[in-house]
Subunit: 314 residues, 2 copies
């Protein structure tokens, strides 16, 4: 069986393991089932499985489930934070139930992930995932500073992309490799590669929010509506003259509907183009790291993920 097929099969086992865990309490099982009914892309769990695919280990599926649980918990808390109504094409927990349910089922899933991690019982894996979880919350907190903040720096935006998204990609690859008892060079290369892939993924997410295609399956222009400064807005604002700055500032503060001409303004100020260049930059970094991975199957998988991340339209 080729590696790609093997990993697709393993991802089904991850889903199965996660869904097996059903609480006797109706409210909890109802929430839990709803959350894991819609299957996400599972790119983080996939990364983890790729990194642990050379030397199979009994905890392989459980570890990938931990990664998926951690990611899901952050998504649910994110939806509360952003007051999002939609997640994975269906209503978010906070909308279908309440914010309170979102906060608490997020905590439930977080702690479930920690229970599985403790079961696996590898200190290095525990360390990496505890720190990564803390870093993710830091990324989200720093992002709150980016709301209606016209003075945010590119450095800070990059830190947000890394902490909020790159960090779990990195930890997914790193812990997978640790779980497979890989050598230091492999652990380092695949972690770096996954980190840049995560940052690329986030930059592309920011870009897609400024696209007006219908394929994304979620509302667009959400970031600016929430007053969140991301790359396209940042670059456009950098280049804007006084009058344009005023228009952009109004968009950020008004939470009104973004119109075609607002997008055109951001485009004309190179907001989209410069973000695409940044995405290309991280794509290149990802490929460079991938090429240092000696195992050709794994190298190919990483390159494919990177190309998909760059070219994805949803």
């Amino acid at each position: 069986m080729n590696i790609n097929k093997k990993i697709s099969n393993d991802l089904k086992l991850v889903e199965k393991l996660i869904k097996k865990d059903i609480s006797k309490e109706k409210t909890i099982s109802g929430l839990y089932k709803y959350i894991f009914k819609s299957n996400g892309k599972k790119i983080r769990a996939r990364l983890n499985l790729i990194a642990s695919s050379k030397n199979l280990n009994k905890n392989r599926i459980k570890l990938a489930s931990v990664i998926e649980l951690l990611h899901t918990a952050t998504l649910i808390h994110d939806d509360v934070v952003d007051d999002s109504a939609v997640r994975r094409g269906t209503k978010s927990v906070n909308k279908l139930w309440t914010n309170s349910h979102g906060v608490l089922i997020g905590d439930y899933i977080y702690s479930k992930a920690f229970m599985y991690m403790v079961d696996i019982g590898n200190k290095k894996i525990l360390e990496e995932l505890a720190i990564a979880t803390n870093d993710i919350s830091q990324g989200e907190l720093i992002q709150l500073d980016a709301i209606r903040n016209l003075n945010i720096t590119l450095q800070k935006l990059k830190k947000i992309s890394y902490y909020k998204t790159g960090r779990l990609f990195e930890a997914a690859a790193k812990t997978g490799a640790i779980n497979s008892n890989e050598n230091q060079a492999f652990i380092f290369n695949i972690s770096e590669c996954a980190k840049y892939l995560g940052i690329l993924f986030q930059i592309k997410d920011d870009l897609l929010d400024y696209s007006d295609n219908k394929k994304i399956g979620k509302p667009v222009f959400q970031d600016i509506k929430e007053g969140k400064v991301t790359y396209p807005f940042f670059y456009a604002y950098q280049k804007a003259n006084g009058k344009e700055k005023k228009i952009l500032k109004e968009l950020l503060y008004s939470s009104k509907k973004i119109r075609r001409k607002d997008l055109e303004l951001i485009e004309s100020l190179s907001g989209i183009k410069k973000t695409e260049q940044l995405a290309n930059h991280y794509h290149k970094k990802t490929i460079e790291c991938a090429k240092k991975i000696k195992n050709l199957d794994i190298r190919e998988e990483m390159i494919e993920l990177s190309n998909n991340a760059l070219n994805r339209e949803k």
Copy 2:
């Protein structure tokens, strides 16, 4: 130095260790400092230190800090869930900042606790605290079912008190004892004792919410205002006739200000008296377990905590 003095000193070291950890990110350090500026009662950290006071171990202070961090994280998420404006006599994070800040700094503190736990590196301690954290979130989720729920059972209310409060008391004592390499009998007795103490603590909390004294330092009649059925309301409703049931139901649904005569109705229907009896029942259970603890210093500490919990007026 007697044990009581020793533990008071150790609690100061716990505070110091927690406060030492300051992020370079202003928003995070601002939130963190604010949260740990006001010192709570630290009864859970105290329990942990009592349980680990016979055989001192290098991780003793760190473990008590983990317990305090976990508790603080649950409080912050609780305040978001209950939309509380006040915590420890000052404004809650969700009021002074936003709900989003509350959710995320709660996650930050949770994961910080896991980082410390992993440092300690004792698998049994990790297991107990991962499961306890999951149980706490279950208790909170089940409690959401108690909102405006006139069909809630006494059994369910007891489960809420145990999961939401008793569980961390139990885990605090248990992990303290494990950290001190205590024998199984001691671990069992002090855990049971702490568990009942926690349930007693919660029952007393529910009672204090129905008292009209000014000492509590937080608003009273919050539970009924939030539509939350707790013991005093539950017992009163059980005994009420049709007309009284209607009045009680209105109180639960209207979120209007509770007046003197509403409290008198609940009192006349034995809501307060029966809750006090339940508190006495758990106080008795706590004392019974405490008497099984052979170390006289620790036994005395547990009995004192139990008496204080029963008699506290805030």
